[in-house]
């Protein structure tokens, strides 16, 4: 019998698991896939917390403001490689070389030094997939008119066989190589080749993610110029490394992670969840727990299934808030469907959208499963998942 079972091992589920394990709880996380962190850059946006809290149903409005701050502090204490302050944003680069902001970012992505730069050297790894040096150069020139932008092409022997057959190398493959023993030596060599023509030179490096790697951080600390990592299109090494760090932290606290197999259904007894039934090979396995957390990632994560007729919560058939109007014509604007999700009380327990009655006493909902927010236009994808996950783990 577990103290808690968490369904879904994305950002929300893992943070919940880490917090609950740290509090001495015996926790099992069951997750079908690795979750959306590998798609994302690894930078976490919290959005305008004060404004979002004033929106009646927004997940931030369900919990106290200090809980949001506490979740953010907690995360940075867990991972000192990540920096940020509540209410203040930091600059990092998109894969196309335009600046964007986020609240907590891996230190290596921090682009603040560019304000005072005179020259930017854009590293251009041979044959890198989804890397467009000319577009990036154009964008950099627009945003940093005081700077000269030089492109520095280089190739390394490790990928010669790839170049020979014209096979592109993803940023994640490059990042993985730099993390290896030979890669670290090679990175030193490559960076040593960059000449400094003016003292305010900053190097921009795509396909590199140094967070959680002491040897890599050391290499960069020894260069005569600051090196800024760029984020990449999916798959992203930054997001993947964060995912791995979360997973390892959870396991090191004694948590058990059952990956690659989904929860089929939940056995109920009146207003309590009792057992998670997992589709193990051949014969389902039942795992019993006192408490449950549903962090199955909404529409993208698989926790909500959308058909032509309706949207449905896949495990318990929990009633969903579904906006009357599903989409809007402006592609990148606010899309009402994103607000689809489960309504919850201040303890994150699911409630009936009509009567507001608590549906299950020992179930909490976290992350993208919650209703009334849009990670894109509210700019708070990581923030809501992190804080609601942390709070669910705190309450478990």
């Amino acid at each position: 019998m577990w103290d808690g079972i968490i369904i879904g091992g994305g950002l929300a589920g893992l943070i919940a698991g880490i917090r609950a394990s740290e509090r001495g709880k015996h926790v099992l996380i069951i997750s079908e896939g690795a979750g959306s962190l590998t798609y994302s850059s690894g930078a976490l946006n919290f959005g305008d917390v004060v404004q979002l809290r004033s929106r009646e149903n927004h997940p931030y409005a369900l919990i106290e403001e200090n809980v949001i701050q506490a979740g953010m502090d907690y995360f940075q204490k867990l991972f000192p490689d990540y920096q940020g302050v509540c209410g203040r944003t930091q600059t990092l680069f998109t894969p196309l070389g335009s600046p964007r902001t986020a609240n907590i970012i891996p230190s290596g992505q921090n682009a603040a030094v560019l304000q005072d730069a005179k020259r930017i050297v854009l590293m251009a790894p041979e044959g890198m997939k989804d890397f467009f040096s000319k577009i990036i150069k154009t964008n950099l020139k627009i945003c940093y008119p005081q700077c000269i932008v030089d492109i520095y092409p280089f190739r390394i022997s490790a990928f010669e066989a790839w170049h020979a057959i014209g096979k592109p190398v993803t940023g994640m493959e490059y990042a993985r190589y730099w993390q290896s023993g030979p890669g670290i030596a090679e990175l030193k060599r490559v960076l040593a080749g960059v000449t400094i023509t003016c003292s305010e030179t900053v190097v921009l490096f795509p396909g590199l993610a140094t967070a959680f790697s002491e040897p890599l951080k050391e290499v960069l600390s020894e260069t005569p110029f600051p090196v800024i990592e760029m984020t990449s299109f999916p798959p992203s090494a930054g997001g993947h490394n964060l995912y791995n760090a979360l997973k390892q932290k959870f396991k090191s606290l004694g948590g058990e992670l059952l990956m690659g197999t989904g929860v089929q259904r939940i056995e109920l007894q009146e207003k309590e969840c009792r057992k998670a039934i997992v589709s193990s090979k051949g014969r389902p396995t039942a795992f019993a727990a006192h408490s449950f957390i549903l962090a199955t990632g909404g529409i993208l994560g698989g926790g909500i299934e959308v058909t032509a007729e309706a949207a449905q919560e896949t495990l318990l058939g929990l009633p969903l808030y579904v906006p009357a109007e599903w989409t809007k014509s402006e592609f990148l604007g606010e899309q009402p469907y994103a607000h689809t999700g489960i309504e919850a009380d201040s303890d994150l327990r699911p409630v009936d959208p009509g009567t507001k009655e608590v549906l299950f006493e020992n179930l909490r909902v976290a992350g993208r499963m919650l209703a009334h927010w849009d990670p894109w236009t509210d700019n708070c994808g990581g923030g809501v998942s992190l804080t609601s996950g942390w709070y669910a783990g705190e309450k478990l």
Partner: protein, 416 residues
């Protein structure tokens, strides 16, 4: 292999992010290997239309499942590749004669075992002789550096008359039967200690080596023979237990083969013991032992979808520290790492794990490694030089049946 879910729906789960290919250890060392995305969900679209692509290259997939663990969307990539290989096998796709003979032999672990254990001493001397290994490499394509496991006197089967109410059937599997009978005895001992009478019918190979080397039909025939042996126990509702995770995975898939098999209750040893624990029937008369262990979860355990019951259970023993190494595949994948054209890839696949093991042992984080899979044990010992055993030995030690986990490992006199 059961694959009855809506195939198109599974395909749609893939959003083409390429994370799987970026993490695939085979693609990382061999650019010609198209990688999991292309061989899995991409080629699957063609296969649904009856078109086979990339079959020859697909044999380089080691089934390590790193891709599946990485996939954000939970796409069952390895399952798709395995099935494609089976389909290609049916239509006899591209292997040389040498490799065909070798794969024929590796598929028949049971016959190899029977042959080798006639005179296990002689077999082991030969397997260690460099000249003999060169000959094996030249003639059969079995890598001369690969850690072929040693053979022991065969594990004996025992079918007692059924007196006790609490009974289990034990499926030792080829590794225990021919290479590691002591672990088989330890498992029987632990089950007996928990009040169970243990029946061991003369089972055949579970079928996994056949399947892994592309002999699907033969694998199913062997499975049916085992099911026939299991029939009377199945009807009496007696569970079937194995300590080998590859056998365990195969046994869990038996119910897809014959109607009667749906009554088969196949358990991993520790999964079964954990159920006893949940029912308050597991014996915890433990001695206080001080051991720190690194745990490696085999790919075939992960594929069973039952979590890591041995870690859960061993953590109940006072003084036992278990660290989950969490480093993916050891690289051996049954007989993949024994093959000369794949040995180096296999070692490359296992590298992160070996490094983690060496690092943990060097800074005294743990003294030895435990993993349920016999193949992983051989490969981790080979790649890291650190003692690696089945987790049942920790229970043996805690119950006081056995002294010193690492040095006294083969002192059979201490057993029983």
């Amino acid at each position: 292999m059961s694959f009855e879910q809506d195939k198109a729906e599974i395909l749609d789960a893939c959003i083409k992010c390429s994370a799987c290919t970026a993490m695939c250890p085979v693609a990382a060392v061999n650019p010609l290997f198209p990688g999991p995305k292309i061989l899995g969900p991409d080629a699957e679209r063609f296969r649904l239309e009856g078109l086979q692509i990339g079959t020859t290259l697909s044999y380089y997939c080691s089934k390590c499942k790193t891709c599946e663990i990485t996939c954000p969307s939970g796409v069952k990539i390895t399952e798709m590749i395995t099935r494609a290989q089976e389909d290609a096998k049916m239509s006899e796709g591209g292997k040389t004669l040498q490799f065909s003979i070798r794969d024929y032999l590796f598929g028949r672990a049971e016959y190899l075992g029977k042959l080798a254990t006639v005179l296990p001493g002689l077999t082991n001397v030969l397997l260690k002789a460099p000249l003999f290994r060169q000959i094996l490499e030249q003639t059969l394509g079995i890598c001369s550096e690969a850690p072929l496991p040693a053979y022991h006197t065969k594990f004996e089967t025992a079918e007692k008359d059924r007196k006790s109410k609490k009974q289990v059937v034990y499926f030792p599997g080829c590794f225990v039967t021919y290479n590691d009978p002591l672990t088989g005895q330890a498992i029987v001992k632990v089950l007996k200690h928990n009040g169970y009478e243990v029946i061991v019918p003369p089972f055949h190979c579970c079928g996994t080596p056949l399947e892994g080397n592309g002999y699907l039909r033969e694998a199913q025939e062997t499975a049916k023979k085992n099911l026939a042996l299991m029939e009377p126990y199945m009807r009496a509702g007696i569970p079937l237990i194995t300590g080998c995770t590859s056998c365990g995975l195969a046994l869990r898939e038996y119910p897809g083969l014959a109607e009667s098999a749906s009554e088969l209750q196949a358990y991993d040893l520790f999964e079964f013991l954990w159920e006893l624990q949940e029912r308050n029937e597991f014996r915890k008369d433990f001695k206080d032992i001080q051991v720190s262990l690194g745990y490696h979860s085999s790919c075939h355990l992960k594929a069973q979808g039952i979590g890591t019951p041995s870690v859960r259970l061993l953590r109940l023993i006072p003084g036992v520290q278990v660290t989950d190494l969490d480093q993916g595949c050891c690289g051996l994948s049954g007989s993949y790492g024994f093959k000369k054209e794949k040995y180096h890839t296999a070692m490359q696949i296992g590298k992160p794990l070996f490094n983690r093991v060496r690092q943990g042992a060097a800074n005294s984080e743990f003294q030895s490694v435990i993993t349920e899979c016999g193949g992983c044990q051989v490969q981790i010992r080979h790649g890291s030089g650190i003692e690696t055993v089945h987790p049942v030995w920790v229970l043996m030690q805690a119950y006081g049946f056995f002294q010193l986990l690492s040095s006294g490992r083969h002192a059979s006199s201490e057993l029983v």
